[in-house]
């Protein structure tokens, strides 16, 4: 099995990067030639370029309401950076499932089929009130189910009709040439059984949170059972924050000075590659890796950890 390894862009991180209003001024005696019209979109493109040049397979773009919208970023970087798969994350509250699916067809047609869809967890109740999303907690899973049923339905069937609680379509469905490329690969998340059951019906990849290899092996098995019951196969993925350095001591020192995301993998390049390879052995087929700052760490991870990880998994494949 070939691994797919993605870098995660966080549009709300590295806030001052390329953002004129947030950068400290230079001393007066330095002639400031920075363009006034630059902003973080320049930085997003740079991170994507870094991920492409260091042989990541894709760029995963986090859903962050305090920053730029992930699907806009996705199309901007896709046009600027060749080859890379682009996976924007967004919630099912964005609006019409038909419209979202139709936008996906244009993205696919314009990028030779490089789009993935990661569905973000919904905001909490207060967050949803801010976003004009009137649903109660107990309705969210059903809406997501309908959203994905309709989005895939209009892409893959014609005529397509559907009448649910949240979405209704009559005599819908896309025609050629909009359907020339496949529906985007769907990434879902969540640890509970309801999330896994939803993935079994709709996901191409289910993304797990960091855990031990043994725990991941259990989760992967559970996902596999549920998917098999639906007559489907769903790949397992892992969202894994990193702090890697040339040696373990340095990594531990750097880690002690900052707040890391839960489950962050701290260690040398060799240790990180070995642990990720164990996760791959446990059944993880796609990794979404992240570290801060996004640009420098994309280079570090791409140049130091990925070659080691790919060598280990290739060796394991050969042995098998």
């Amino acid at each position: 099995m070939t691994l797919a390894i993605h870098w995660r862009l966080d549009p709300a991180a590295d806030r001052q990067r390329s953002e004129p209003g947030l950068q400290p001024p230079l001393p007066d005696f330095i002639r400031d030639r920075r363009a006034a019209n630059r902003n973080r979109f320049d930085y997003y493109v740079q991170v994507a370029e870094a991920a492409a040049q260091t042989a990541f397979d894709g760029l995963f773009i986090r859903h962050r309401i305090q920053s730029d919208e992930s699907r806009i970023i996705a199309a901007v970087v896709a046009r600027a950076v060749p080859r890379l798969h682009i996976i924007p994350e967004f919630p099912a509250s964005v609006g019409s499932a038909v419209y979202a699916a139709k936008q996906a067809t244009t993205f696919q047609r314009g990028t030779q089929g490089r789009l993935g869809w990661a569905i973000a967890p919904d905001a909490d109740h207060i967050g949803r009130e801010r976003e004009s999303d009137p649903l109660g907690d107990e309705e969210l899973s059903e809406r997501l189910d309908e959203f994905l049923t309709v989005a895939r339905g209009v892409h893959e069937q014609r005529p397509f009709s559907f009448k649910g609680r949240y979405f209704e379509v009559q005599n819908g469905g896309f025609e050629a040439p909009l359907t020339r490329f496949a529906f985007p690969r769907v990434y879902l998340q969540g640890e509970d059984d309801e999330a896994l059951a939803l993935s079994a019906r709709h996901a191409d990849v289910h993304l797990f949170r960091p855990a031990t290899a043994a725990e991941l092996a259990d989760s992967v098995a559970r996902l596999g059972e549920l998917a098999a019951a639906e007559g489907r196969r769903v790949a397992a993925g892992l969202i894994q924050p990193l702090l890697t350095r040339g040696d373990a001591g340095q990594a531990a020192d750097d880690a002690s000075g900052q707040t890391l995301p839960p489950g962050a993998l701290v260690g040398s390049y060799d240790q990180a590659a070995e642990q990720l390879a164990r996760h791959a052995d446990a059944g993880i087929a796609e990794f979404v890796l992240s570290a801060a700052p996004g640009l420098e760490e994309a280079y570090r991870t791409g140049q130091e950890v990925l070659p080691r990880l790919r060598a280990l998994t290739a060796r394991a494949r050969k042995a098998a």
Binding site: G21, V45, D68, I73, G95, K102, S132
Partner: protein
Amino acid sequence: MTIDFYWRLPTHGCHNSIRTSGYERGDWSPLASGNIAPGLDAGGEPDGFAYIDHLAEIAKAAEAVGFQGGLIPSFPNTDDPWVISSLLARETKSFRFMIAFQPGFGNPVHTARAAASLQRATGGRLLFNIITGGGGPAQLWWGDSFAHDDRYGRTSEFLDIFRGIWESSAFSYDGRFYQLRNGGLPSLLRQEEFPEIWFSGSSDAALQTAARHADYYLSWLEPFDQLGDKFARVKERTAALGGEQKCAVRVDLVARATEEEAWRDIRAGFENVSEETRQRWRGQATDSIGAARQAALRPSDARHYDELIVAPNLWGGFNLLRGGPALGIVGSYEQCAAQLDELIARGADAFILAGTPHLEEAYRVGEEVLPLLGRETASLLQAAE
């Protein structure tokens, strides 16, 4: 006072000529030798280009000859304007992206955040043509089951929120269609300019909503007297509400060095229209008032192109040649310029022009027609100041 000229990005492929019906640009017709974006390589396989590559060419042509930007229409079988604008953001310099959008298709908060992000990605080059929907089977195709007048109410509330969260970090709203509490765009995004809103729709419900929200009231070309009256009515109504409404018209042109040459192209194009195309135009169901007005011209029943000449240099069969509105301008460069001058005299403050093929015609209209505009217009605009 100035007049803004926009071009159009054809989002359903483009033809090599106004005379032909096949889509040789893009993949809306079966790929054949001679097709572009995508084309076929020496081995007969798609060459790796996509239709967006051709749209990029048109956008660059339009900005090079002085168009402000272009309208990017959205219909069931077109590419999508949001994605087109995002893809082309960084390879155009001044081109303004006019996204045709039906508010019912997006959550207002999410859509505003996407719009502000696109403003950031383009350096403030986004604007909207807000559409409230033709209705009929097409609305249900889109997954929208709202009735005509409800849709205008929804559009109005959507735009209230859109503007509200752009201007405040804690905006609350309790409408019939939308409610929110303490919504607001993040400060970085709120710094962006609020996009200009162009509004379409000919019904009373549409005019009311436009008066409240629109910077420009956009109409298809109609017979000039009728259009002049409509613009006057829109401007009066908005003035009565204490606002100021600019008016815009979208119109296709066939502009050639001589009038004879222009009519020759129209005639050849008309004679190439298939019976199937005529039938399709006869059978369209809609609750859009504007569309019904255009259908009253009955272009699909004409047997000869000159039956559709409704006034000098005004032809009512464009929809048969390339979809969209029926009425357009045909003539020499000077005549086309004079017609545009006449529309300015009747209250047009801005234009969305188009011609087929969109790439070459952007250069032709930009280089040959626009520079001829205006001896009368210039004095008219001066007098207004």
